[in-house]
Amino acid sequence: MSIIEVEGLSFGYSSEREVIRNVSFRIEEPSFVCIVGPNGVGKSTLIRCMNGLVSPTEGRVRIFGRDVSDYSPKELARTMSYVPVMTSDFNVLTVLDTVLIGRYAHQRWRTTDEDIEVAYKALEAMEIGDLSMRNFNELSAGQHQKVSLARGLVQEPRVLILDEPTSNLDVRHQMYVSAFLRLLVRKTGMTVIMVSHDLNLSSKFADKIIVMSPPGILYGMGEPKDVITERMIEDVYKVECDIVDDHGVPHVMLQSVVPDG
């Protein structure tokens, strides 16, 4: 039984504006999967279809063999968590309270000692345990991303879906989070699916890479060494590059822009 099975998936806001077209792939075993592709190619829409936030116009998504629409909201939340990045608003919550909200699908009424322990451990896993009683709104954009990740972790899902979780992080924390997620997959059997714009980070840490290309089609899926190629980057991104071997992992060195169209 596949962990995730996407079959002939299409989605559009209208019949003329199709965002993704006939995308099919399977994730058979626990793995760290990165979805890459240029802006507006439907990466975020694809993950929103995968977690049932939007209904595809055609095709289907199966999670552990069941159609995503067959899950009850709480059941789906315990199976799959999606972490959009949180930003400041008028709400006043400590970092700990913000993370504890992620325990909703596991709680009955009150917050238990176990919930608090799990939330603290998630914060420590993201190296922000010392921020637990700080106001969430006082934190930087990078720290917001780490709190968002901690909230995704405390949901304790079997599949964790992340939308550009490292976009506001410095290089040290990008490396840390990516390495953490890769090891998390190895040690817990969780599947992590992450949308990213960073080809080298994806290439270094991902088990598999899904490449989306205009106009919302699946260009390819495979291991980084098979997918991250000069040809792919020119076809999909319209950029010339050199690929160098970095300890068996392809590393992209961008060279020049190719005229679009």
């Binding site: 059941e75 939340a77 959009p84 949180m86 006043v92 919550l93 909703y104 322990e117 972790l153 998390l184």
Partner: protein, 373 residues
């Protein structure tokens, strides 16, 4: 893999074994969290105590002199069936207590509904005014007083009209929320649009009315908690208690909703459904109060704001805290209105605006970025 794998591996191991071994800091962490929660209860307790004390003082105000501590004794004896039938008891239970209890119930209802409206519409300016509930009630009352058109018999003509029309904006907001591209912002804009329409309709009726009618419309619209009977208090009390108990049951879901609609759905909460159910409850509570008391501004706006600054946005605590603080603020405002230029009385709606508006301005200037992002 990067060279720092060992360091990351320890972090992953710690997380992977989260349920097996307690951290050495567990006790300290739990202590910090419990202290954090205790502060929330302390604020709720302090607000209830303040409302209790102000209520006692409010019961002493009037021509017939009654000592502060005696007021509690009179009410306790009456409730427990040990009433003496004294003049003091008659004065308190017939004239003064309905006003004070109305103040408490209205404060509780407006404070709590303000907190929930702000949570579900994710806007710190949401309250019965900005969602059009007050202007709907005002139009209903104006229709009854100015044109004699009402949905109920004479004694409840104004109240019934105010209640029914106060619910119209909610219907519009819910219809807007069903639209594909709606957001909390479009919902609040719909409320404001309805508010302008109702205000224009009310103005038209006033233009056609004589001076006496305009005067009675004005008297209704300036919020007041006097001239209420125990029957009215009972209706308000039942709607408010049932409504707030229901909202309290939804409070954990409201916390999840505060993270955003998509995020809430991914955590197991149907955001659209929860928003409609909550909006229905808060509209019923606010409409029930406004229809009896007229327009009492700023309680629904300021109380959740102050409570949020002190205890945070966790709806499980913010709803009761805003309710308790609302009761205290409304009683203080009403009491001030009765003593500032006694024996003349300034209506509570005027005082809440006088206290609430500068306080609100001060808070938004002081808070700036922290409160508004």
């Amino acid at each position: 893999m990067p060279p720092s794998t060992d360091y990351v591996e320890r972090a992953v191991d710690l997380w992977a074994n989260r349920h097996e071994s307690a951290s050495p800091d567990s006790e300290e962490r739990l202590h910090v969290y419990r202290r954090h929660v205790l502060l929330k209860y302390a604020f709720i307790g302090a607000s209830i105590a303040a409302a209790f004390l102000v209520a006692g003082y409010a019961l002493t105000i009037g021509d017939y002199s009654i000592e502060f501590w005696d007021t509690y004794g009179i009410i306790w004896d009456y409730i427990t069936g040990n009433g003496t039938g004294s003049t003091a008891e008659f004065v308190v239970m017939t004239y003064r207590a309905p006003r004070v209890v109305t103040g408490i119930v209205a404060g509780i209802g407006l404070g709590a509904t303000g907190a929930v409206m702000q949570a579900i519409l994710r806007n710190p300016l949401a309250d019965p005014y900005t969602t059009g509930i007050s202007s709907g009630a005002s139009f209903g009352a104006t229709l009854a007083l100015g044109m004699g058109i009402s949905l109920a018999s004479a004694s409840y003509a104004v109240v019934a009209n105010a209640f029914v029309f106060a619910l119209v904006p909610m219907v519009v907001i819910i219809l807007v929320s069903k639209m594909k591209s709606s957001s909390p912002a479009t919902m609040i804009m719909a409320g404001i649009a309805v508010m302008y329409i109702f205000n224009a309709c009310s103005t038209m009726i006033k233009l056609w009315s004589d001076e006496e009618t305009i005067s009675s419309i004005f008297a209704w619209s300036v919020g007041s908690i006097d001239s209420t009977s125990w029957t009215n208090v009972a209706i308000m009390l039942v709607v408010t208690v049932v409504g707030i108990a229901s909202l309290q049951l939804l409070s954990r879901r409201l916390n999840v909703l505060s993270t955003g609609d998509e995020s809430a759905r991914c955590m197991g909460v149907n955001a659209g459904q929860l928003r409609i159910v909550s909006l229905l409850i808060v509209s019923l509570v606010a409409a029930a109060i406004v229809s009896f008391t007229g327009l009492i501004g700023f309680v629904g706006l300021v109380c959740p704001h102050i409570a949020r600054m002190v205890i945070g946005s966790d709806s499980r605590y913010l709803i009761p805290a805003s309710a308790a603080f609302g009761a205290a603020l409304l009683l203080v405002a009403d009491t001030l209105g009765r003593v500032i230029i006694a024996p003349a009385v300034i209506q509570v709606g005027v005082i809440t605006a006088f206290i609430g508006a500068p306080l609100f301005l001060y808070l938004i200037v002081k808070q700036k970025k922290e409160a508004w992002g």
